[in-house]
């Protein structure tokens, strides 16, 4: 994408889609392209190329390499100072400032709105979750945890920098071309004076339609060295918890004390099945659907609207789905209206499909 102003909307949309694909790419890194990108990024920063480029299977392995004793291959003595500011932050700030001056404050906001803003939320959620997973992986030692947090400050996020990269010109010859080349070819990386540690991309990435990590039968995110995160519709869950989902019973769900895990259990078990087996009775019924209430001990009631999709599935059946609504909801219509931020009397669709 060339920085010719946001005059060609389709070109911008195309650029966003290509960066979206880069951000969510899985499978082996293109090591040659990534290494060339690393070297280019150093040269663009006015630095000597790193003497060594070391590959890691995941950010976890990269941290393990970097936490090596002082005499380790990638330890503080061997690697020199972090050059993240020179390689990544300074050129980024310069490009942002240049674009801001050229487009004006409104133009810059507009540019960001049609580019980076579209990828920001989902990639930020992902990187926050990876960071949290890396910190959690440290066995309870506060000093170790602090060391990990410090090292995370030195990371360049590679493919997960797609959101901000897509707001800029990253074509060949542009100040950000090296960073962009790494982002298109590899995962997170750590630039230091004498060496760069570059990570592989994930081998598994499963997200729901809203872009949140989501998988019921395995890791939602996994790297080739085994570093993995489990999540259900964005909510982090322990790996063992997923194994248990297959053998759930209504009693087990009722007995679960963690409200968030119980919600996941309910969703996985199926509200319909749970309603049937727990003998729940509909509270209210009208033209918009059916309102159900499940009392839970020591917790607010689960109140749901049951809605039938207006467009039949290809096999002619109509899909029924449940949406949880606030516990004070009294009628099905009030519940459906709430899901669209409306009061019951304001919700009057002329047509729905």
């Amino acid at each position: 994408m060339r920085a010719a102003g946001v005059t060609d909307a389709e070109q911008v949309a195309d650029g966003v889609e290509r960066w979206r694909a880069a951000a969510t790419a899985t499978g082996a890194a293109d090591r040659a392209a990534a290494e060339a990108g690393v070297r280019l990024a150093y040269r663009r920063a006015g630095l000597a190329e790193p003497e060594r480029i070391v590959w890691a299977g995941s950010p976890r392995e990269a941290l393990r390499l970097l936490r090596d004793a002082h005499d380790g291959d990638c330890g503080p003595e061997a690697r020199g100072r972090s050059v993240r500011d020179a390689v990544r932050s300074t050129p980024w700030a310069a490009e942002r400032s240049r674009l801001h001056d050229r487009l004006g404050p409104q133009g810059w906001t507009r540019r960001w709105g049609v580019t980076g803003a579209r990828l920001w939320e989902t990639t930020r959620q992902l990187t926050d979750r990876i960071g949290a997973g890396l910190v959690e992986g440290v066995a309870g030692d506060r000093a170790e945890e602090a060391a990990i947090r410090l090292l995370l400050l030195d990371a360049v996020l590679g493919q997960h920098d797609a959101a901000w990269l897509c707001a800029f010109d990253t074509g060949a010859g542009s100040p950000l071309d090296g960073l962009a080349a790494v982002a298109r070819s590899a995962g997170w990386w750590w630039p230091y004076e004498r060496l760069a540690v570059v990570c592989e991309r994930p081998v598994e990435l499963h997200r729901d339609e809203a872009g949140r990590l989501d998988r019921g039968d395995g890791p939602a995110l996994a790297y080739p060295d085994g570093f993995a995160l489990h999540a259900w519709r964005g909510m982090p869950v322990p790996a063992a918890f997923l194994d248990e989902l297959a053998a759930l019973t209504p009693e087990r769900i009722r007995d679960e004390e963690n409200a968030e895990l119980r919600r996941v259990m309910l969703e996985h078990y199926g509200y319909d099945r749970y309603l049937q087996e727990s003998g729940a009775q509909p509270v209210h019924r009208d033209e918009t659907g059916v309102l159900w209430r499940i009392p839970l001990p020591d917790d607010e009631d689960v109140v749901m609207v049951e809605v039938v999709n207006s467009t039949p599935e290809p096999d002619g059946t109509s899909r029924t789905y449940w949406l949880r609504v606030p516990p004070a909801t009294r009628t099905a219509k009030e519940g459906v209206a709430w899901t669209f931020g409306l009061a019951a009397e304001a919700y009057e669709p002329l047509r729905q499909t």
Binding site: E121, D208, R263, P326, E348, R351, T353
Partner: protein, 110 residues
Amino acid sequence: MYRQGDVLIVPIEESAVPAHATAAGAPEEPRDARGRLVLALGEVTGHAHAVLGPGRLVREAGPFGPMLLHLPDGGRVVHEEHAAIPLPKGWYRVVRQREYVPGSVRVVAD
């Protein structure tokens, strides 16, 4: 008002349209690679609630809208899994469906 899956399209009076949306040079959402105005995009399937035809889309604050849609000649909202809905000309507010989660609210994606 019109509903296609998890998207509600609510007509609004022209007089009720915020001034920033009608101002010259107001930030418009770009069309997608197929030239459509995308009201909501499924991240994984790529299925979209999208409008064909002339018009503009202005995003309001927040990652999921609402958005304001102007269709000077009317249009059609389409989706891979829902029947198309014709929309008369005018201004609309586009609202994504949400779900109650104790302590927070999350967006529904079909």
